[in-house]
C-alpha cells in the first residue's frame, strides 16, 4: 500500500511537467503546426523561473515570467513558421538548440542552487485522508490541480464546445476551406502556436520550481520530446494528454522507487523505462484495437504551411 501511494504521489508530480508541455503542443498541433522546439522552450522556462524567484521570491512570479518568455520565443517561432511559412521541422529543431543553449548560458551562475521559492503543497481537508489516492491526488502543489483539471478543461471546452473552437480545429484540418469560410487562418495559427509555446515554457518553470526544484544543465532531460510524443499518443485531446502524462509519470516513478530501494537492475535500465513504455503505449493499442485509431487521427493540415495564393 505504502509503495503504491509513493509511486502515485511521485507520478502525479512528475507527470505534471509533461502534461503542461503536452497541452501546449496539443494547441499548436490542433491548428496544424508541429513544434519540435518544446525541449528548448522548457529549458528557457526553467531557467527563467529560477532567475525570477531569485530576484523576487514568489513562485507565481517565476511561473508567470516563464510564461512570458515562452510567449516571446513562441512568437518568434510562429513568425518563422506561420507568417514566413518556413519549414516546421527545421525551425523546431533550431528552437530547441537556441533555447537549450541560451538557457545553459544564462543559467550558468544559478546552476545547482536550490530554488529561492517553490510551490508548496496544498492539503485538501478530508480528501487527502483517503486511502492510497488521498496523498497522491489531494496533497499536491496548486499547479498540479491547474494542470490536471483546469487547463485541460478550459482547452477541451474551447476546442469542442464553442464556435471559436470549431474554427480553430478547421484551421488545423483544412486551412484552405477555413480560409474560404472567412476564418483568419494565419492569425489563429499564430496565436495558438504562441500560447502553446508559453505553456511549454511554463512546464519548464514547473520543473524547476515545483518538481526538482533547482536548475542545472540538462535538467530538462528529453522531457520536451516526450511531451511531443504524448500528443500523438493522446490523439490530440487535452485530457488524453493529461492521462498519458500521468501514465508516463507512473513509469518514471517506478524507476525512481526501484533506484531508491536498490532493485537488482542498473539505474540506467530503469531510466529507459519511460521511453520504452511510451513506445509500447503507442504501438500496442494499434494492434490490439484497430478500430480505436479512427478517432485518433492527426489534424489533416498538420505540418503543412498554408499559402493563400497557392490554393
Amino acid at each position: 500500500m505504502e509503495l503504491i501511494t509513493g509511486i502515485l504521489t511521485t507520478a502525479v508530480l512528475a507527470g505534471g511537467v509533461l502534461a503542461l508541455a503536452a497541452l501546449g503542443e496539443v494547441l499548436a498541433e490542433r491548428v496544424g503546426v508541429f513544434n519540435l522546439g518544446v525541449e528548448g522552450l522548457m529549458a528557457l522556462g526553467g531557467v527563467t523561473g529560477i532567475i525570477a524567484v531569485t530576484l523576487y521570491p514568489n513562485p507565481f512570479f517565476g511561473f508567470v515570467m516563464a510564461l512570458l518568455v515562452g510567449l516571446g520565443f513562441g512568437a518568434l517561432f510562429a513568425l518563422a513558421t506561420v507568417v514566413f511559412r518556413a519549414n516546421q521541422v527545421l525551425c523546431g529543431l533550431a528552437l530547441t538548440m537556441l533555447g537549450s543553449g541560451l538557457a545553459v548560458t544564462i543559467g550558468k551562475s544559478y546552476s545547482g542552487m536550490p530554488a529561492k521559492a517553490t510551490f508548496e503543497k496544498i492539503i485538501v481537508p478530508y480528501l487527502s485522508d483517503l486511502p492510497i489516492v488521498g496523498r497522491a491526488f489531494f496533497s499536491q502543489n496548486i499547479l498540479v490541480y491547474l494542470i490536471y483539471l483546469i487547463i485541460p478543461a478550459v482547452i477541451s471546452f474551447m476546442l469542442f464546445r464553442t464556435r471559436h473552437g470549431m474554427n480553430v480545429r478547421a484551421v488545423g484540418e483544412n486551412p484552405a476551406a477555413a480560409d474560404s469560410a472567412g476564418i483568419p487562418v494565419t492569425l489563429i495559427r499564430f496565436c495558438y502556436v504562441t500560447i502553446g509555446a508559453a505553456l511549454g515554457a511554463g512546464a519548464g518553470a514547473y520543473l524547476t520550481l515545483a518538481f526538482v526544484p533547482s536548475w542545472s544543465d540538462g535538467v530538462v532531460a528529453g522531457r520536451g520530446w516526450i511531451a511531443v510524443a504524448l500528443v500523438i499518443f493522446a490523439g490530440y485531446r487535452p485530457f488524453g494528454a493529461v492521462f498519458g502524462a500521468l501514465l508516463f509519470g507512473v513509469i518514471t516513478a517506478i524507476g525512481y522507487v526501484g533506484q531508491a530501494r536498490n532493485w537488482p537492475i542498473s539505474p540506467t535500465f530503469l531510466s529507459m523505462l519511460p521511453y520504452l513504455g511510451t513506445m509500447l503505449a503507442m504501438i500496442l493499442p494499434v494492434f490490439l484495437w484497430r478500430r480505436l485509431r479512427l478517432g485518433f487521427t492527426a489534424p489533416a493540415g498538420l505540418g503543412v504551411p498554408f499559402f493563400r495564393d497557392e490554393r
Binding site: 519549414n87 525551425c91 528552437l95 543553449g101 548560458t105 520504452l276 503507442m282 504501438i283 494499434v286
Partner: protein
C-alpha cells in the same frame, strides 16, 4: 491607385537553386550579424573571432582535416534522413541508430580478433546491421500499424544513448587507463589518406551519389519516388508499397549506423557517452537544407560542418558549448526563413491571377 500599391509579393512554387543559394547567403550573413552583435554585447571582439575562424578552419591543413572528419558523419546522417524523406517519412532517430552502429562496431572491435581488413569489413556490416536493427520496430509499427515514425524513432534515441552510456561507463569501461567515461581503444582503424582524414570520408562522399543514381536510373528507384509522391497511386500501379517502405526505412537506419561505425573506427577509436555529438539531429537539418536531393546532402553537410567547426574554434576562444549551440540554432532559424523568402517575388498587380494559376 499609386504605383506602389500595384506591386505585390507572389509565391512561386518552383524556384531555381541559384535563388535559394542567394537567399541562404543573405540569411547566413544576417545570422552572423545578429551573432556578432550578441557576442559584442557579451564583451567579445567579433572581428577577431571571425578572422580566427577563417584562419583555423579553411586556412590551414589541420582545419581542412577537421572539416572532413566532421563532414563524414554529417553526410551519412543527412543521407539517412533524406532516404526516408524520399518515401515521405521522417527519421528523427538517426542519433540512436548512430549510437547503435558505433556500439556494434565497438563490440566487434573489442571482442573479435582477426586480420585488420577482414575485421573492418565485419565492423562495417555490424554497424549497418545495428542501425537497421534499431529502426526495425518503428519500421514494422509504421508499415503494419501506421504508427507515427517521427515519435517512435525519436524515443529510441534516448534508449540508445542510455545503453551506450551504460556499457562505456560499466562493463566495457577501459580498465587499463582508468578513464571512467569510455571503452578501451578499438584496435581496428580505418586507414588515413590525408593527415588524420580516413577513407570513411570517401565512403561518405560516394554513398549519396550512389543512392542518387539508384533513385534516378533503376526501376526500384522509380518505384520509391512514385511511392513518396503518391502512395495510393503507387499502390494502384501495383507497387508493393509496404515492402518498399520497409526496405527504405531499414536502409536509412543502416546508413546512420554506418556513420556511427566510421566514427568509432575512423575518428574517435573508442565508444563513449557523447559520441554521436548530435549528428543524428544535425542530419535532419542537413536533409532539410538539401531539400530532398541526395547529392545536395553533401552541400548541406558542408555548411553544417563549417558552422560546427567554427563552434569548436569559438570554444577555444572562451565561448561555451552552450553559447555555440544557441548561435547554431539562430543560424538554422534564419536559414529556414530564407528558404521561404526565395519563393517570393515582386510582381505588378495585373498579371497576378495568371501567375497564381500557374503556381497552383
Amino acid at each position: 491607385m499609386s504605383g506602389l500599391q500595384s506591386l505585390r509579393l507572389v509565391r512561386v512554387s518552383a524556384v531555381s537553386g541559384r535563388r535559394i543559394l542567394a537567399a541562404r547567403v543573405i540569411s547566413f550573413i544576417a545570422a552572423l550579424a545578429v551573432g556578432a552583435v550578441v557576442l559584442a554585447a557579451c564583451g567579445f571582439d567579433p572581428l577577431h573571432l571571425g578572422t580566427q575562424i577563417l584562419k583555423k578552419s579553411l586556412g590551414s591543413r589541420f582545419g581542412l582535416e577537421d572539416l572532413g572528419l566532421l563532414l563524414t558523419p554529417l553526410i551519412l546522417t543527412g543521407l539517412a534522413v533524406t532516404v526516408m524523406m524520399k518515401i515521405g517519412l521522417w527519421n528523427i532517430g538517426a542519433d540512436g541508430q548512430f549510437y547503435i552502429g558505433a556500439f556494434a562496431a565497438t563490440a566487434i572491435g573489442l571482442f573479435v580478433k582477426g586480420p585488420e581488413p577482414a575485421m573492418l569489413v565485419l565492423c562495417f556490416i555490424a554497424g549497418a546491421a545495428g542501425g537497421a536493427l534499431w529502426i526495425l520496430v518503428p519500421t514494422l509499427a509504421r508499415a503494419y500499424g501506421k504508427v507515427d515514425e517521427i515519435i517512435t524513432t525519436l524515443l529510441l534515441n534516448f534508449v540508445a544513448l542510455l545503453l551506450v552510456y551504460y556499457v562505456a561507463t560499466g562493463p566495457w569501461r577501459d580498465r587499463t587507463t582508468g578513464t571512467v567515461a569510455s571503452t578501451g581503444r578499438v584496435p581496428y582503424e580505418m586507414p588515413d589518406f590525408f593527415g588524420s582524414l580516413h577513407w570513411g570520408f570517401v565512403i561518405a562522399l560516394i554513398a549519396p551519389v550512389l543512392f542518387g543514381l539508384l533513385l534516378r536510373y533503376t526501376k526500384w528507384g522509380y518505384e520509391i519516388r512514385l511511392t513518396g509522391a503518391n502512395p495510393e497511386a503507387a499502390h494502384y500501379a501495383g507497387i508493393p508499397v509496404r515492402r518498399r517502405m520497409i526496405t527504405i526505412m531499414l536502409l536509412s537506419g543502416a546508413i546512420a549506423g554506418l556513420a556511427g561505425m566510421l566514427e568509432v573506427t575512423g575518428t574517435v577509436h573508442r565508444l563513449q557517452g557523447g559520441i554521436s555529438n548530435n549528428y543524428g539531429y544535425l542530419g535532419v537539418m542537413v536533409a532539410v537544407l538539401a531539400r530532398g536531393s541526395p547529392v545536395g546532402v553533401i552541400a548541406g553537410a558542408a555548411l553544417m560542418a563549417i558552422i560546427l567547426n567554427a563552434g569548436i574554434i569559438l570554444q577555444t576562444q572562451g565561448l561555451t558549448t552552450a553559447a555555440v549551440l544557441a548561435l547554431t540554432g539562430l543560424i538554422m532559424m534564419f536559414t529556414a526563413v530564407a528558404d521561404q523568402f526565395a519563393h517570393y517575388r515582386l510582381v505588378r498587380a495585373l498579371p497576378v491571377p495568371a501567375a497564381s494559376a500557374a503556381a497552383g
